[in-house]
């Protein structure tokens, strides 16, 4: 039954839809004035953030649409991450999309991805989940291919589209099999079927579902689209897509596994453990060889998917609650540092050499990038350290040898990732400037975003207590 409560529950989504339409329509009339359109889109992201924060502050929770749509702290938290990342993505995209002449369309796409991503974290119905994922994914194909002036953009978009469609069909097939076995797509009903020993069909469904998600979150061996897509994509698209929809996907995967198949835990934690180890190594080893910073960050995002998957592997034993916290903390920690690192590319350049001597020409920007790189390695007190620390805490309490191996691999990979992140730091701080010292004009909003993100990365530890309190009251874990 649709009541007033339902509208309150859907507030972030309704706000997103409203601003999406508004941006598109205003864009028709103000095609030339990028400021107005971008301002509106940024306001939209903030409004989504604000409405989710308001629901969180009010302690709002409940199930709607026959249990298929749920609002809880867990979902609201991820809505905050998505909307917050979208805000920075819009700021980063404003100038660039103005140059393309299609600012309203591009900014609408961002809001569409936001809509899909904030819907998906609230879904408790497998088909609803699928639809929401597609709602977030289809605009993202267009975002990747949006830069018509660069051939790589179209190439990246094409690769992303083809693999994405394959992934979607694999995911859908998995969902259909699970539905077939349990007779319902609601996670509560699925949980009743996924108990005891799994039937072969149920197992196949689980494996296909996990493979579909592995594609979408660029886990190895399904990661091969990532470098091309992110390298070709406009910077703001790569920054946003590597953070927001991915966080939402991890969130919904966590919900499916914990609410839909808690009894099958030994099976899926084992799968996650193998995926995590493989993904970490593949991402880091490939990133070591990159000279292009965008491509390096793309592989780095593969590696970081591996780290988050390690938290999934640790969802067992004593550490399960901590592992949920780890996913929450890591998603936010990764969002601030990775968005920041990508945004710097737009200000400096995508060749590793263009970072040479940045410390002498633009010290504040170099310091910010230094913070992002150190944080991505996992050096305290920056955000990335806390994410990894929580994964290690939870893994160490899991009581499973396989998870200890995963945690060991995580530590080894952190050391392995030092050369490529610190290669950038070396170029910025130790080399002589190669570029002209003059700063490119404009980009004020972009620079401000970078500084704010650097500050958030450095002061992230202040957010940990509230986040872990949220995890405790989330209903998951």
């Amino acid at each position: 039954m649709v009541t007033g409560q339902t509208f309150v529950a859907l507030l972030p989504e309704l706000v997103a839809v409203g601003f999406l339409i508004l941006v598109l329509m205003v864009g028709v009339f103000f095609q030339r004035s990028v400021g107005v359109v971008a301002g509106l889109a940024a306001l939209g992201a903030l409004a989504v953030f604000g409405s989710a924060a308001g629901l969180l502050a009010a302690g709002f929770s409940g199930e709607f649409f026959g249990g298929g749509f749920v609002v809880d702290n867990f979902a609201l938290y991820f809505k905050l991450i998505v909307a917050g990342s979208a805000f920075f993505a819009v700021l980063a995209a404003a100038r660039w999309s103005g140059d393309t002449g299609d600012a309203p369309e591009y900014l609408t796409l961002i809001l569409a991805v936001v809509l899909g991503s904030i819907l998906v974290v609230s879904m408790r119905d497998l088909f609803g989940i699928f639809l929401a994922i597609e709602l977030a994914t289809i605009p993202s194909y267009a975002m990747v291919a949006f830069d018509r002036r660069r051939r790589e953009s179209a190439e990246g978009g094409m690769k992303y589209l083809i693999t994405g469609v394959v992934a979607s069909s694999v995911l859908l097939y998995g969902i259909v099999l699970i539905y077939g076995v349990s007779g319902s797509a609601l996670l509560g009903d699925v949980a009743r079927t996924f108990s005891g020993s799994l039937s072969p069909v149920a197992l196949l469904g689980l494996v296909l579902l996990l493979s579909g998600f592995a594609f979408k979150v660029s886990a190895a061996p399904f990661h091969f689209w990532t470098p091309d897509a992110y390298q070709g994509a406009p910077t703001s698209a790569a920054a946003f897509l590597s953070v927001a929809p991915k966080a939402a996907l991890f969130a919904v995967l966590l919900r499916i596994l914990l609410e839909g198949m808690p009894e099958a835990r030994p099976t899926w934690t084992a799968v996650m453990a193998f995926l995590a180890i493989l993904t970490m190594f593949v991402g880091n080893l490939a990133a070591l060889r990159q000279r292009n910073v965008r491509r390096m960050l793309a592989y780095s995002s593969v590696a970081h998917s591996g780290y988050i998957l390690a938290a999934f592997a640790a969802l067992q034993g004593q550490g399960a609650g901590q592992a949920v916290e780890a996913v929450l903390i890591y998603s936010a920690a990764y969002a601030v540092m990775n968005l920041g690192a990508f945004l710097v590319i737009d200000l400096v350049g995508e060749d590793a050499k263009s970072f040479n001597g940045l410390f002498r020409t633009r010290p504040a920007l170099a310091a910010s990038m230094g913070v992002f790189m150190a944080s991505l390695v996992g050096i305290p007190p920056f955000s990335g350290f806390w994410g990894k620390a929580w994964i290690i805490f939870s893994g160490a309490q899991s009581g499973s040898v396989l998870v200890y191996v995963v945690v060991g691999a995580l530590v080894v990979n952190s050391v392995l990732s030092v050369p490529y992140y610190f290669g950038i730091i070396r170029n910025m701080f130790f080399e002589k400037p190669t570029l002209d010292a003059a700063e490119p004009p404009g980009g004020g909003a972009l620079k401000a975003s970078v500084y704010v993100l650097a500050l958030l990365t450095a002061l992230f530890f202040l957010l940990i207590v509230p986040i872990s309190a949220l995890a405790g009251g989330s209903g998951l874990g």
Partner: protein, 484 residues
Amino acid sequence: MITTITIFVPLLGAILMLLLPEEERPLRYAALAVAAVPLLLTLYIYLAYGSGLDAPSLTQDFTWIESLNMGYRVGLDGLGFGMFFLTALLTLIAVVASYDVRENLKQYFAILFIAEVGMLGVFASEDLILFYIFFEITLIPMYLLVGIWGDENRRQAAIKFFVYTFLGSTVMLAGFLAFGILAGTYAMEALSAGGGLGRTAQIAVAAPILFGLLVKVPAVPLHGWLLDVYVSSPISTNVVLSGILPKLGTYGLIKVAIPLLPQGVQPFLPYLAAFGVINIIYGAFVAFAQPDLKALVAYSSIGTLGFILLGAASGNAVGLNGAVLQQVTHGLYSALLFVLVGVIAARTGTRKIRELGGLAARMPWAGGLLALGAMAAMGLPGLAVFVSEFMSIMGGYDAYPVQGILASLGIVLSAMYLLYMLARVVFGPIETPAYEAVEDARPMEMAAAVPLAVLLVLFGVFPALLVSVQRPGVEAVISAIGGG
């Protein structure tokens, strides 16, 4: 509270530095003022609390993450106070000695002060995770100080330093985490004497922690990063790099590994003492072979770190007191020698021992202080290092006679290369005509060197000034390991 303020004053100083305009003189004065604050606060703590460092007004205990029992816990004790003081002092000396840094001065000071936050924090941490965080906060600033302001070889040196010590500290963190999870808390107080862990668990936890700490020291053969880094750094960075950073490792041994995991480190202690002896003897032999004055000082510095390892491994009051004291005296003398090497290199344009000679005639102050520093390094009675080395050897001999005897042999070896160095550099005829006209140390250089020399004499004559403060801390360690 005052401890916390002292730790974080340099952070404010770093921000202040970045806000100041790029003018050399005001910047230098401002940096001096910032660096003086922690030192004055430390002196105040010494005078006001002296032997009662466990006063509640010096400690803070704030449990931050309940579920993991991890928190912001700081306090001062006899073990850390000497190094806390030395950190504040040597940072000030480094600011004074920063005359060789010419470009990007304000960033230099800002980075130096951030490193100071980490170093002060380590010596005041009462929580394992906090200890690790402060430990790592020093890492990037040091990497940048060497990498940006060092000489031609700096890039390679900086990356080597980073990879070695990051690997070491990551392994150490693994040990800390395992320890905390098994014991259910990260508070050092609650973890004392094993925190309820059995012997096997303690050994398993102690091994990675010891490895990480020994890389930081560095104990031979884990010293691969050291020479390049020491030689490439600017002099003012050397002061901190040799005076404080190795002590993060040795202090970790004395404060964390030994009292918190007494049964776990016990099987490793004879090897730790042996590592100490290897450091002493290896350092002396390699120092002998160095053609470069700075490299000689660098190896002399690793050599005498061995006494700290030996004293710490002894597990008795004399040895531990010696080790804790040696941390401070080693910092004083090695900083003094590095400052003087910088002065000599700046005046004569070379660091090659072969090309130098007869500096006593031309540079009586610099040459004289170098002689004083070298005599301190030899462990000559009357100077501070003598007291601490003697106590370390006594304690070490009691526990491990072979290692103790070999260590005292090290004193003879170090006297040999240091006297040889003095004979070549300070005494003898002036070999290169160009040195006829070199000037003596300038006022700023003297201001960096003289306080160190004065303290070496002062603590040599009145070691009780420091020993009385550290004694309660050492007694706590002894009772944790179940001795005396």
